[in-house]
Amino acid sequence: MSYTVDPGLYAVGQPDAGSPVLVTANYKMSFDRVRRSLDGRNAWLLVLETDGINVWCAAGKGSFGTNELVLRIEGARLEQIVSHRRVVVPQLGGPGVAAHEVKARSGFRVTFGPVRCEDLGRFIDAGFKAAPEMRRKTFDTWERLVLIPVELVDALKVAAVAVPLFFLLGGLGGPGTFWSNALNYGLFAVVCLVGAIVAGAVLTPILLPWLPGRAFSLKGLIPGIAMAVVLVGLRTSVWASPPAPLEIPAWLVLVPALSTYLAMNFTGASTFTSLSGVKKEMRIAVPLQIPAGVAGVALWIGSRFAS
């Protein structure tokens, strides 16, 4: 399975010298979405080499940029193929593409298209004019939902390493046999890890606009604390064995700490966090998260061997 398309000029439908030229990345999904959004309209698609990365990320990295665009315009001999002198660049390519430089170097005028592919048809029909809402990058519930699996996979990869460790340490120390201990304490540790991941990487993204605070780490604290309270309630009521001393405080500290850390990582997926803001948030959050994490683990290990 291939995620890239060859860079260069493509025809969609039966374009002629008057058809619009739309620029996109060689990420297959971007390419297909543009093609689909044209919905029967004829157009030229100029695909830039972005190493299979989408327009926005590639523009940030510089590979979807002025230079690449000018080279592809020349390489495709675009001036001989179309009679007009306009290329439509997705607005999210803006950080990489300097319209005035493209114009100076290639003679082609860059018109920035809408943020969302789905608006492309309406944009073309309106004479290459974007309504104000087509220029806005939103971050609605659906857009956040589709990002959750990515966050989850990342978190679960790390958790996969931690789980056997918790089982092992859960089995050592404590009252009964190794296996009964591992099941009682290790299993609850796994439940707590999963709970923290759900709080930080699922609940926080979903509830993002309604959680108090602006910093993501702060937003992640509330679901984290709520999750910790629920889990501890579970541990002290329906769980097979009574909790070890220190076990409860350990999870009350660890679950929220993990949740705020994972919530903070969601800044990378979001569409409105600035680097200056993330740095500021981290200067405050990380010096609290690390000691909380260390203290939580220490308490839990203590709970295995105390008494």
Partner: protein, 111 residues
């Protein structure tokens, strides 16, 4: 509170109104309508909504609008602090050298 908007007063966006010609190039590229035209003059309307993507600065022909651009991603900050350069999509803050290396590399495969 309007959403999405991030921290207060941190964005490094600046507009030199004396340099600005009012051409409007920056207005089209901003994904958060941070800049607006008001009585014929362009000005910063909603600084807190700025995500420092740099699109406005890239597209200003006279460098009237400036910003320290970067990707607002905690993992990227961590990776940079640890001296790692992870390849995960948006989550690397690259030096200009790496940028140049990236844009010249060719890995396309036929469909």
């Amino acid at each position: 509170m309007r959403f999405p908007v991030y921290l207060h007063n941190v964005a490094t966006l600046a507009l030199d109104e004396d340099k600005c010609t009012g051409c409007g190039a920056c207005l089209d590229v901003c994904p958060h309508a941070v800049l607006v035209r008001h009585n014929g003059r362009v000005r910063i309307d909603d600084r807190d909504a700025c995500m420092e993507c740099g699109a406005c600065a890239t597209n200003c022909p006279v460098q009237a609008v400036t910003v320290q651009s970067g990707v607002g991603c905690a993992m990227a900050v961590i990776n940079t602090a640890l001296g790692r350069s992870s390849s995960s999509c948006c989550c690397v803050i690259e030096t200009s050298e790496q940028k140049a290396a990236n844009s010249s590399g060719s890995t396309a495969t036929p469909r």
